[in-house]
């Protein structure tokens, strides 16, 4: 691409400037979690690790961390199983309504979360199901299906159908072909989808708010309920930073895994 060196430089500046802006708020939250003053005011008053070392003593935060992990784990399993099945179904051949089905899978993350949340809550309440662990898991699984599905279907598209046909020609049963040929090829994509589904569920706020009853509080819920309480605020920055340092490397790993089948 021919460009004047001035255009080149300004484009580079714009790009790196944008990346800088993207990470500035994240860095800020991390820095403020070591602030000795219990406020978001800049500049920080002093350095302390007190909040980090004591946040596990905050009973409600610990419980929220646990329930977040449990919900994300189960929602991830459901989403991976359903999403992978969907990928195999949509990849195998054309059928009537195929494009509608893929649009349907995207809708739960393309429509505003509040619509999904209010709709699911309404259904659960109407049928007399208790709002709690299971209703939150059902809500999360619904919008996580698409993440698992997208990773697996993209990998399936890259696998030559010849491989499976060769396997069948050599006398393998469909089961053997799946276990010995297809599965090893898609394994890393399934894992990447699982990681991203877990991350998506772990971070989710809106659907959780509406599908959780009084008894359940996830980590994002806990942040939302406490950010305006001055005495809990420092722990909110710690929890937020914790989510940051856990999710960044994990998302990076998922990215590597999902590209693994490229070559």
């Amino acid at each position: 691409m021919r460009l004047s060196s001035r255009a080149r430089t300004s484009l580079r500046l714009a790009t790196f400037g944008t990346i800088g802006l993207l990470y500035l708020p994240l860095a800020l939250v991390f820095v403020l979690s070591f602030n000795s003053a219990a406020s978001l005011a800049w500049p920080p008053r002093g350095f302390t690790t007190h909040w980090w070392s004591t946040f596990l003593d905050v009973e409600s935060a610990r419980a929220a961390l646990l329930s977040s992990a449990r919900i994300a784990g189960v929602a991830m399993l459901l989403a991976v199983v359903l999403g992978t099945m969907l990928s195999f179904a949509l990849q195998s051949r054309d059928f009537f309504g195929k494009s509608t089905v893929s649009l349907l899978a995207v809708l739960p993350i393309a429509l505003p979360g509040i619509v999904t949340g209010v709709a699911l809550r309404n259904t659960f309440v109407r049928f007399g199901w208790d709002l709690g662990f299971l209703s939150v898991v059902a809500g999360h699984a619904t919008f996580c299906i698409v993440v698992a599905h997208n990773n697996v279907v993209a990998r399936l598209r890259r696998i030559s159908p010849n491989l499976r046909e060769a396997s069948a020609d050599l006398g393998a049963t469909p089961r053997q072909t799946f276990l010995l040929v297809t599965w090893p090829l898609i394994r890393s994509a399934v894992l990447a989808g699982a990681i991203l589904a877990f991350a998506l569920s772990f971070d989710e706020v809106v659907v959780t708010t509406f599908t959780a009853g009084a008894g359940i509080s996830t980590l994002p819920q806990w942040i939302l309920n406490n950010f305006s309480r001055p005495n809990v605020l420092p722990y909110v920055t710690v929890v937020a930073s914790l989510m940051l340092v856990v999710s960044l490397p994990i998302a990076w790993l998922a990215q590597r895994l999902s590209e693994g089948g490229n070559d």
């Binding site: 500035l24 359903l82 099945m85 179904a89 494009s99 995207v106 505003p112 999904t116 998922a254 990215q255």
Partner: protein, 307 residues
């Protein structure tokens, strides 16, 4: 990341297919339909029963009423909720403001995504490309609240000297909590979706087209208008579905950096907590209707590109 990029592509495809640009992609390999049905049934049943079923039930429940005595939802049908949600001028202006916020967020995301996506796709060294895309997308997975909270720490106007956030203490000026901060925060939150879509669009645009355009004497503005934009329209439309939709329904960012600002999401939540579920359902018809119209329009844009 990759996943979102694919979601974008999928949305584009779906938009094009939905608008009548159907292309045959048959593989022509006959297979039995039994395994297909078995694989398709569970996920499809889940999406149809849990998701579509709930949406349908939600629409129906907008016609239900509250028992005057007990305050419980009864299935006595009424138009009262719709009347309140759709004829109050106050709600009209609230909806207009929400649409304005969503449109502003989309415009800002696009304005920021175009130069970066162009640089990464067409200018950056091949080896640096992937790293740059990952750097732009990674924040998408770090949690909504972490980011909204980070921006609160930036925009916080404080209540006196030394109590403000990064902007008011560091620069001496802050927009404070209000619509401006809401727009900036939402744009920050959903920017990666737009970037990925636009980047995917640029990747589909052959370099030779740009070179040919300048060989034929077009300046950069003309090339952008006549060559780049037509190719990018479906990608931009796909990205805008996320930036527009996710902003339109938002109510949490408004709580964190919005001060007294209100959006559709806030009145839905308020009605639900009242608790007046049927009225909340009637309010959700606003975002549902707006998004259906928006998706339809974007489908048309994708279709134009195919002509």
């Amino acid at each position: 990341m990759r996943a979102v990029q694919r979601v974008g592509e999928r949305l584009e495809q779906a938009a094009r297919l939905g608008a009548g640009g159907r292309r045959a992609e048959g593989r022509g390999r006959p297979r039995s339909s039994a395994p297909l049905a078995g694989l398709l049934a569970p996920p499809l049943a889940w999406l149809l029963v849990v998701y579509v079923g709930s949406l349908a039930l939600l629409v129906v429940s907008a016609f239900f009423s509250l028992d005057d005595f007990t305050g419980k939802v009864t299935t006595n049908l009424t138009l009262g909720n719709l009347d309140e949600a759709f004829t109050e001028p106050d709600y009209w202006s609230l909806v207009a403001r929400s649409v304005g916020v969503a449109a502003a967020v989309t415009a800002i995301c696009l304005a920021l995504a175009l130069p970066s996506a162009f640089y990464i796709s067409k200018v950056a060294r091949r080896g640096a490309k992937r790293g740059l895309v990952v750097a732009m997308i990674l924040p998408l997975w770090t949690g909504y609240l972490v980011k909204a909270f980070g921006l609160r720490a930036i925009f916080d106007p404080g209540s006196g000297p030394g109590t403000g956030g990064l902007l008011s203490s560091g620069v001496g000026w802050s927009p404070g909590f209000g619509y401006a901060s809401v727009v900036a925060t939402l744009a920050y939150l959903w920017f990666p979706y737009m970037l990925l879509s636009v980047y995917t669009g640029f990747e589909r645009l052959p370099d030779s087209l740009l070179d040919a355009s300048s060989d034929l004497g077009a300046g950069s503005v003309r090339t952008f208008r006549s060559v780049v934009v037509p190719v990018l329209v479906p990608s931009i439309a796909a990205g805008s579905i996320f930036t527009f939709s996710l902003s339109l329904g938002d109510y949490i960012t408004v709580k964190i950096v919005g001060g007294t600002a209100q959006m559709i999401g806030n009145i839905i939540e308020r009605a639900l907590l009242a608790p007046n579920q049927p009225l909340a359902a009637a309010f959700t018809l606003w975002p549902i209707g707006l998004m259906v119209a928006y998706l339809w329009t974007m489908g048309r844009l994708g279709a134009f590109e195919n002509l």
